[in-house]
C-alpha cells in the first residue's frame, strides 16, 4: 500500500457532533481508521485542588459543578462519603428523595444522549423529539428542586427539600405522559433501518474487552456484564427490587438499547420510591469535621463514579479524588476506533456518552 493512502486527520476539539472538546488524532488509510489517539486537556479546572480553599460543606457546590448532567449524583456520592466518615445515618425519607432526584438526572442525561446520537446520523427530528421529552423531565426538576440542572438538593446529613403529596401526584402524572412518549421513540429507534445500519455491529466490545478496558455503566452492561453499582443497595436502592439492564451484543446498538431501557427502569424506580417512601425528617444536623479516609461509589448515568476522600479533622479535606465514568470509558476509544470507517467516528465517540467536563474536572 503506497504511503499516499495514509492521512492524518485531526478530529475535534471543535466538531459539529461533539458538544464538548475532545481531540482525536486519526491515522486513516483511505476511509478506514487504522490508529486513533484521543486527547483531552481543554477544560481542566483543577476542582480536586479546591479542597485547599473550600471547606467540607462548600465542596458540595464544587462537586456539583464537575458535571451539570449528573450534578445531583456527584453531590450524592460526596455526601455519602462524608456521612460514612462521620458515622452519620441519614433519615429514610432522605434516602428515597436522593434516589428520586438521581433517577430524574439519569433520565435527562440519557435523553440528552439519545438526541445527540440521533443528530450524529442526521435524524434531526428525532433529536428534537427526545429533547422535547427531556424538557418535561427538566420541568419536574425545576418544580421539585427549584432548578433545572444543578439542583443542589444534597447536604451532608440528608437533603435540603421535600416533595409533598400534591407534588408527588403531579410528578407521577408527568412521568405517565413521558413514558407514553418514550414508548413511541423507543419503537422507532429499535426497529428503524437507518439506526440499525449505523449502529448494529459497529464498535463491538466483548465482555472481556469491556472488563479489560475498565469500562463502566451502559458501556459495560451493553457487553453482557451485569454490573450496576445501584445493586449494592446504597441510599434506598436496597428496597426497590430491580435488575440491571443488560445486552450482550456489545455494539453501538446494544449501548443505545441499554440506555433506552434504563429510561423506563428509572420511571419504574421513581414510582416505587414514591410508593414506599416513609414519612419523617429529611435531614439530620451534622456537627464537627470528618477524620479518616473513605471510598464512596455511586452509579451515575454514564456509569460508576468513585470518590476517594481523605480528611484530617480540620474543616478542609486533605485529598479528594474523583474518577468519573467518562474517565474510565475513554479507554474504549482506543479499541473501537481502529478498524472503523471514518464516517462511523462521530457515532462511536458518542456511544461512550462522553462528558469531557467530568473527565477533566
Amino acid at each position: 500500500m503506497p504511503d499516499s493512502n495514509i492521512s492524518f486527520i485531526p478530529f475535534g476539539p471543535q466538531h459539529p457532533v461533539l458538544p464538548e472538546p475532545i481531540h482525536l488524532r486519526l491515522v486513516v488509510e483511505n476511509e478506514k481508521v487504522v490508529e486513533a489517539l484521543p486527547t483531552v486537556g481543554y477544560v481542566h479546572r483543577g476542582l480536586e485542588k479546591m479542597v485547599e480553599a473550600k471547606d467540607v460543606n462548600q465542596m458540595i457546590y464544587v462537586v456539583e459543578r464537575i458535571c451539570g448532567i449528573c450534578s445531583c449524583m456527584h453531590a450524592m456520592a460526596y455526601c455519602q462519603g462524608i456521612e460514612e466518615l462521620m458515622n452519620v445515618e441519614i433519615p429514610e425519607r432522605a434516602k428515597y428523595l436522593r434516589v428520586i432526584w438521581a433517577e430524574l438526572h439519569r433520565m435527562h442525561s440519557h435523553l440528552l444522549w439519545l438526541g445527540l446520537l440521533a443528530d450524529s446520523f442526521g435524524y434531526e427530528s428525532l433529536f428534537m423529539q427526545t429533547w422535547r421529552i427531556r424538557e418535561r423531565v427538566m420541568d419536574i426538576l425545576d418544580k421539585t428542586a427549584g432548578n433545572r440542572v444543578i439542583i443542589s438538593v444534597n447536604v451532608i446529613g440528608g437533603v435540603r427539600r421535600d416533595i409533598d403529596t400534591e407534588m408527588q401526584k403531579w410528578v407521577l402524572q408527568s412521568l405517565d405522559a413521558i413514558e407514553k412518549d418514550l414508548r413511541e421513540i423507543y419503537n422507532v429507534m429499535k426497529d428503524d433501518y437507518t439506526v440499525k445500519q449505523r449502529t448494529v455491529g459497529v464498535g463491538v466490545l466483548s465482555a472481556d474487552d469491556a472488563r479489560e478496558l475498565g469500562l463502566v455503566g451502559p458501556m459495560l452492561r451493553a457487553s453482557g456484564v451485569a454490573s450496576d453499582h445501584r445493586m449494592t443497595g446504597y441510599a434506598a436502592y436496597k428496597d426497590l427490587d430491580f435488575e440491571p439492564v443488560v445486552e450482550t451484543a456489545g455494539d453501538s446498538y446494544a449501548r443505545m438499547i441499554v440506555r433506552m431501557k434504563e429510561l423506563f427502569q428509572s420511571i419504574d424506580l421513581i414510582r416505587k420510591a414514591f410508593a414506599r417512601m416513609p414519612e419523617g425528617d429529611i435531614a439530620v444536623k451534622v456537627r464537627g469535621n470528618p477524620t479518616g479516609e473513605v471510598i464512596s461509589r455511586v452509579e451515575q448515568s454514564r456509569g460508576e463514579v468513585l470518590y476517594y476522600i481523605k480528611a484530617d479533622g480540620t474543616k478542609n479535606l486533605s485529598r479528594l479524588r474523583v474518577r468519573t465514568p467518562t474517565f474510565a470509558n475513554i479507554a474504549a476509544l482506543f479499541k473501537i476506533l481502529p478498524g472503523c470507517s471514518l464516517s462511523d467516528v462521530p457515532v462511536l465517540v458518542l456511544t461512550i456518552d462522553p462528558c469531557i467536563s467530568c473527565t477533566e474536572r
Binding site: G214, E304, A331
Partner: protein, 131 residues
C-alpha cells in the same frame, strides 16, 4: 481507614498481575502527597462490587513502573498522576508527556504542595518545582 494492602516497588507488578489474572477490573489509581518527600499511590480493583486496594509509598524522585502493560486502561490515570504530581512512571503504553490534562502554559505538577510554596516565594511558576 480503607483497607489497603501495603506493597513495595519490588512486588507492585506481581500484585497487580495477580488481580488481573483473578478477573478484577482496575477502577483507577489515586495519588496523594504524604509529606514534602513522599507520594502515596492507591491502586483500586473491583470484582463483584468488592473493592480491594494496594497502597504504595515512594520517594518523589523515584520512578515507578507502569502497570499499563497489565491493565491498558491504567494509561489514563497514570498520565494524570504524571501531570498532577510530577510522578515519574516508566513504560506507559501511551505517554502524553505531562500534557494529558494540562496545557502548554499550565503550572507544573499543580497538585503537589511544593507548587504553592514556589508561588508564594515569588518564583517563576513554570520554573523548578516538579516535585
Amino acid at each position: 481507614m480503607i483497607e489497603a494492602k501495603e506493597i513495595t516497588l519490588d512486588n507492585l507488578l506481581s500484585e497487580v498481575k495477580n488481580y488481573h489474572d483473578n478477573g478484577y477490573r482496575l477502577v483507577t489509581t489515586t495519588c496523594m502527597e504524604v509529606d514534602d518527600d513522599k507520594l502515596e499511590i492507591l491502586y483500586h480493583f473491583d470484582k463483584d462490587f468488592k473493592l480491594e486496594n494496594l497502597r504504595l509509598t515512594v520517594d518523589k524522585n523515584q520512578t515507578i513502573p507502569s502497570i499499563s502493560s497489565i491493565y491498558f486502561c491504567a494509561v489514563l490515570s497514570e498520565n494524570e498522576m504524571q501531570d498532577m504530581f510530577g510522578l515519574k512512571i516508566d513504560g506507559m503504553v501511551v505517554d502524553y508527556g505531562g500534557k494529558f490534562l494540562l496545557g502548554e502554559d499550565s503550572p507544573l505538577s499543580p497538585m503537589a504542595h511544593i507548587q504553592i510554596v514556589a508561588k508564594e516565594q515569588g518564583e517563576n511558576k513554570e520554573g523548578g518545582n516538579n516535585a
